[in-house]
């Protein structure tokens, strides 16, 4: 048996594992590095192979490490870690071609694993490279002496030939509605709104330059001051943070209007259930429910990129039948006394809620409030400190203070969290909303009008709404992407590049990643095949042909491949015998017939004569003789199983030594 090409195999593993590096625990990366480095060094220095015991020990250590780091919560990420650990030690035991093949398939498996973790275009392109390399190594394993460049070319050709089949499967292979992979593969902390908001959360979020979602509009794109992406409504305030209502229902008042905007949102995974829609949504995808506070709630948490359609009335009118409960007047007791006093004072001076709102906005406008990402530290009475002392804050400060004042003045009020604005990508004709567009604003209840949106931040920093956060914060001395301290030219170039890349990505996501079961059914319908939403069509259309194809293929393999008839099985068993001989340094040359080989073995090791002659005789009888039955095969198999050349040689040499 020839030496296995360890280096190319390790290369395949490295290429396959590279994208996962930042998703793996650090020790797993180190584990692989050490193991592979040792192997490469061993190749160079010609060190002997690791013993079986050592390999077993390493295996148990690796599994134990994965289990320890995963604990009871064993999720997809831990599976990946386990796979990586196995990939790290698998090359240690490569001896036969079979081991090499297993390693190659491990590399394929790692490649597939990256698909669970990443969904973007660049990773898909990288996966092609990875598959190409791995296939090249697969060819190399089977033809170690061939020219590498030709093998890589063959690999590329194979992949190209597979592309039509890939397309076909992509379009026709049954998709399951919803998330296929049930449990998330990596529960890493995702930036975005969580289910509660503490003061300071949003200003931290704004520093993250990640896309939150992107939107394509089927109707004209709304103006910037209408782009309020509603995500979550906060009801309860404990003096430091806001919390949504404990119970929500989907009994909501009806919404009407004239300016209906239809759009599709491609949401990045954020690990929460809430979806983002424009104020106020009227219809939503079947994947979500519109709640009584006009927010959209998905059926389960979003751990993968998620696409949904929605429609909203921008000039919404709503049913005011239901007067909100007292919880919208709730304030933490013994906190913010000065704000309470101010609120009470407004309540006495103004009868109508509109007047109270105007008074509050005027208060913000006239008292030198500043919009900044770097507010001063606030004490226990945060709202009082902000309103009367520091007067520097971010949208959450303004919204919180405003809501507290409203409630103190007896006007029902709540906070809405979401995003405001977004960057229009003219190239791809879509809107990208980033985490830096995170925003909170307020809603106050007015009799006859329902919940009315009031954005106190707008009063202080109108730029924030009109021109986006970067211009509003200009001069705030911010580092990185928010501060514009790069060369203007360079900045424009990078911006164009980024927009182009995002445009390509969004198309990719829309057309490929977003190709859902519904789209597939629609496509089939266009082709004249009508299928239901459920798995029924899967059973009747795909499985039977697949089954038949499988049977035909299996039949062919049965005919073509060795291992079925007794004489071919004899070949397999004989192969095991040859393996044993190889292990004692007596490989059979390919051109050698069984008799020749036996003669040579006996010349070298006379003590094996009895066994080897017997095995060879049985083998040629089975394979070349008149066709012996299964019994003969059984005896032959047993004979080969019992055959232990190493022990026989050792025993003979002991005897002669004595």
């Amino acid at each position: 048996m020839q030496r296995q090409p360890v280096r190319p195999l390790i290369l395949a593993l490295v290429v396959a594992m590279a994208p996962l590096v930042f998703h793996l625990p650090w020790w797993a990366v180190g584990w692989c590095t050490v193991s592979w480095g040792y192997l490469l060094l061993r190749e160079r220095q010609g060190w002997p192979a690791a013993s079986r015991g050592f390999r077993l020990a390493v295996f148990f250590v690796g599994v134990a490490a994965v289990l320890l780091s995963a604990g009871l919560r064993f999720d997809g990420g831990d599976f990946i870690a386990l796979l990586a650990v196995m990939a790290g030690i698998k090359p240690l035991e490569i001896r036969s071609r079979r081991d090499s093949m297993v390693t190659v398939f491990l590399a394929y498996f790692l490649t597939i694993t990256s698909l669970f973790v990443f969904e973007n275009l660049s990773m898909t392109l990288y996966l092609f490279v990875s598959v190409w390399m791995t296939t090249g190594v697969l060819i190399h394993v089977n033809d170690p002496r061939g020219s590498v460049s030709r093998q890589l070319r063959l690999s590329a050709r194979l992949i190209l030939m597979a592309v039509p089949l890939m397309m076909l499967l992509f379009l026709l292979f049954p998709r399951l509605s919803g998330s296929f992979w049930g449990s998330p593969w990596s529960r890493q902390s995702r930036s975005g709104f969580s289910s509660s908001m503490r003061i300071g959360d949003v200003s931290r979020l704004v520093l993250v330059d990640e896309p939150a979602f992107s939107v394509t509009f089927e109707s004209p794109v709304p103006d910037a001051d209408q782009l309020y992406w509603r995500g979550i409504v906060f009801q309860r305030f404990d003096g430091a943070g806001w919390y949504p209502a404990r119970r929500q229902t989907n009994r909501r008042g009806s919404v009407g209007g004239t300016d209906l905007s239809r759009y599709t949102v491609m949401l990045e995974p954020h690990g929460q259930r809430h979806l983002f829609v424009l104020d106020l949504p009227v219809t939503a995808d079947p994947v979500a429910t519109i709640m009584d506070d006009h927010t959209l709630l998905a059926r389960r948490s979003i751990w993968q990129r998620f696409q949904y359609h929605s429609a909203s009335f921008l000039d919404y009118l709503q049913d005011d039948a239901e007067v909100p409960s007292d919880v919208y007047l709730q304030l933490p007791s013994n906190r913010n006394p000065r704000a309470a006093v101010l609120g009470n004072q407004w309540a006495r001076n103004h009868a109508a809620p509109e007047a109270v709102v105007s008074a509050a906005l005027a208060f913000f406008r006239d008292n030198g409030f500043r919009y900044t990402l770097r507010p001063d530290r606030l004490g226990l009475n945060a709202v009082d400190d902000f309103l009367f002392t520091s007067r520097k804050g971010f949208c959450e400060h303004f919204a919180t203070a405003f809501t507290v004042l409203m409630r103190a003045a007896g006007v029902p009020a709540r906070i809405v969290g979401g995003y405001q604005g977004g960057k229009w990508n003219a190239l791809g004709e879509f809107l990208t909303v980033r985490q830096s567009d995170a925003h909170v604003w307020c809603e106050v209840w007015m009799a006859g009008r329902g919940w009315v949106r009031v954005d106190p931040t707008f009063t202080v920093a109108p730029d924030r709404i009109d021109a986006g956060i970067e211009s509003a914060l200009a001069g705030d001395g911010l580092p990185g992407f928010l501060g514009r301290n790069r060369g203007e030219m360079l900045a424009r170039w990078t911006e164009t590049l980024r927009q182009t890349w995002e445009a390509v990505n969004i198309r990719w996501n829309l057309w490929f990643m977003g190709f859902s079961a519904e789209d597939q059914i629609a496509l089939l319908k266009r082709l004249g095949v009508s299928v239901g939403r459920q798995g029924g069509w899967l059973l009747f259309m795909i499985l039977p042909p697949l089954f038949i194809a499988g049977v035909i293929l299996a039949g062919r393999m049965r005919r073509a491949a060795p291992g079925r008839r007794p004489e071919d099985k004899a070949l397999n068993v004989y192969g095991r015998f040859l393996d044993k001989m190889t292990r004692i340094g007596m490989p059979k040359a390919p051109h050698q017939g069984p008799l020749d080989f036996a003669r040579r073995v006996v010349e070298q090791h006379p003590m094996l004569e009895r066994d080897v002659d017997d095995i060879t005789r049985r083998y040629i009888g089975l394979r070349y003789g008149h066709g012996a039955g299964m019994d003969a095969l059984k005896v032959f198999r047993l004979r080969v199983q019992r055959f232990n050349p190493r022990r026989t040689i050792a025993a003979a040499s002991r005897k002669s030594g004595v």
Binding site: E567, P590, H591, G593, Y624, G627
Partner: protein, 307 residues
């Protein structure tokens, strides 16, 4: 190498006379029992004639020898019709071909016309003269010799005719020990030739030939054979690949070899044993269209793995 006990005695007997040539004797026997004809290519005086004589004597077969010359006519081999004045009719006088073992010495000295007359007789097992077809006796075994060194005034057999010979072997010089025996015991050897016992009868030979045809060839064996044929046809070493007739010849020869080895089924080793003898004169190198030396040929065929 194991040997069928019956053949052990034959090889032993012949070996007493043709010293140190067990391998070649065995190959000649293989050729005989496969029902093929043998071409021995070697320099004169190496024991070609002796081998043929001893073989025929051992088998109890009729033996004739024809020395081929350039003025030989087909009739000199096949026989001719001569007018009998007493009966007033043509009477056919059979030529030397009407025998069981024919030694055609230096076949390449004859003209192509004469050569082809003999080769037809070999192929058909019958002779047609004056419109009348006469069957040859069975078994019919031709041992032709040719001298590869002397080329002047010879007509080397073309490839198509070489193909008629199942095998071509070389005898080669005897090794030192065997030659010493030969040189020292000249008289004893002569005696041995005369004293040789008949081991078989012609009927036995025919029966054995039938048994050879019964030797089992398994799929695995045929796979290997086809791999070999495929190798000569697709490989880059040969001018032309082996013909199906060559494939058949290989099967026959391998069967015969297996039978002589005392087995009733053929192994890849059997093909390997007869391979060079069977295909050596059928293959030409692609580079210079010359024959490929046996050693190199052996190495080339090692590229074909035994399945």
């Amino acid at each position: 190498m194991e040997l069928h006990p019956q053949f052990e005695t034959i090889v032993g007997q012949v070996g007493q006379v043709v010293l140190g040539k067990e391998e070649q004797i065995r190959m000649a026997l293989t050729c005989l029992f496969a029902g093929g004809h043998l071409l021995i290519e070697d320099i004169p005086g190496i024991g070609k004639t002796t081998l043929a004589k001893v073989l025929s004597r051992c088998m109890g077969l009729k033996f004739r020898r024809v020395q081929f010359t350039s003025d030989m006519l087909p009739g000199d081999i096949l026989g001719s019709s001569i007018f009998d004045q007493n009966t007033g009719a043509f009477v056919f006088h059979p030529g030397p071909v009407f025998t069981q073992v024919l030694l055609a010495d230096e076949i390449n000295r004859a003209t192509p016309k004469t050569q082809s007359a003999l080769l037809e007789a070999m192929e058909e097992g019958q002779v047609t003269s004056d419109g009348k077809t006469r069957g040859l006796s069975a078994p019919f075994f031709v041992i032709a010799t040719q001298n590869p060194m002397e080329l002047s005034g010879t007509f080397p057999l073309p490839e198509s005719q070489l193909d008629r010979f199942l095998m071509r072997i070389e005898l080669g010089y005897p090794d030192r020990e065997a030659e010493r025996l030969l040189l020292g015991g000249d008289r004893a050897q002569r005696l041995a030739l005369n004293d040789l016992q008949r081991c078989l009868s012609p009927e036995d030979v025919l029966a054995l030939q039938k048994q050879v045809d019964q030797v089992h060839v398994a799929d695995a064996f045929l796979n290997y054979l086809q791999d070999l044929l495929e190798f000569t046809r697709t490989g880059k070493h040969f001018h032309m690949g082996l013909s199906p007739r060559a494939g058949l010849a290989l099967v026959h020869a391998a069967r015969s070899w297996a039978f002589i080895s005392g087995r009733d089924y053929a192994l890849p080793e059997d093909i390997q044993a007869v391979l060079i003898s069977v295909v050596g004169h059928r293959l030409r190198s692609r580079d210079d269209l010359a024959e490929i030396p046996a050693r190199r040929l052996k190495l080339l065929f090692q590229e074909v793995p035994v399945p």
